[in-house]
Amino acid sequence: MKIYLDDRTLTVERGTTVAAAMLNAGVSVFRESVSGEPRAPLCGMGVCYECMVTIDGQRELSCQTLCQEGMRILTR
């Protein structure tokens, strides 16, 4: 299935989380910390909030969200 990441189109397999899809697409910076540091998934299990991105307009944990056809993801 297809998802949209910033201005790219990605093809992902069913059952893939958004975090995994982003990592596979070579994204290394998921969010910027309060003091401007680059951050990416740490815990992989919904605890650390480092993997927050905007998914279809909502701030969500990408490691806890499965990719769905046509999803739009913004890294900021």
Partner: protein
Amino acid sequence: MTGFDLIVAGAGPAGIAAACRAAETGAKVLVLDNNPAAGGQIWRNDIPALWAQRLSNVEVRGGCSVIDDSILAHGVPIVLATGARELFLPFPGWTLPGVTGVGGLQALVKSGFEVRGKRVVLAGTGPLLLAVASLLRKRGASVTCIAEQAPRSALLRFATGLWRYPLKIAQGIELGGSLLGVPYFTDCWVEEAYGRDRVERVRLSGFEQDCDLLAIGYGLVPNTELATLLGCTLQDGFVTVDAMQKTWREGVWAAGELTGIGGVERSLVEGEIAGLAAIGELTEARKLFSRRAAWHRFASHLTGAFALRPELRALPRPDTIVCRCEDIRYNDLTRWTSAREAKLQTRCGMGLCQGRICGAANHFLFGWQDTSVRPPASAAPVSDLMES
């Protein structure tokens, strides 16, 4: 939530076992989990066929967090099986992208992250390092080394004690086989990670190593937030239960890593007992006591071997970030004498994760204990708190 005989919070092995055993007696069981699907950390996306089949009579709702004690209002017995998260200890560079938990990397791989061809350094402590190394190798990653902080002597003692657990020996042989050729260092830990926008190189005790990913795991911390909000009693950080896995809070049972760390078999048998006990099948539950006792012995064996060494306390530099949500640094904290004081004065632990990462680190670094949990048990839309 009405119409159920049992609600289970958490769909890892303990929760699945509780739900299945209860459902097999004819009870209507609902399992809630904040992950998209059942499985928990270890069984993420691959629940063993046997359990998957048994789970077919159970209603599982993924992507669903229990945020406060309003769940008790339904008058339905609750089994808490919220599992554990990893213990992270700060060191220079640990906030770089590409540095993850060991279990964290395992979870990411199981949810579709492709690691083929990536150079991975695994560091920390305990058997999880080996299990994850094996998974990574199967997925085509190159595990450049495994750094175990525990001393060799402790590991040998641990290994010679394993004869009492034939299942564990079998797993060990299998792991050993798949890891042949991976450098495994004891008395070794990560001192610093380097990189610009992502980790590129790490310094371990005495040597450096290039890598694409660094996974660190210093053990597990139970997710007791919900249990605390429901009014369960804790001791030494774990939920206190009686022989039937019943907590001190009426109508609430607990199983798995909430009550102690010790592997999947321990969680399973506790889950089975809790599920049966919660719906009143006490005789059946009692039949499992001896199996549980064996796994409890294994668990204490495990904890002894992988105790954290004091040198790890000296890793953060003054400017090393400790609280990642609020970017609070080590030297912001040294003036304060308690978790609450540090929190009120520096915002350490006040962010989105509410101290779930830095709280345990500060316990290790400074001996602080943050006992304060307030709803929601995890960040939630304001509207969730408006539902009565």
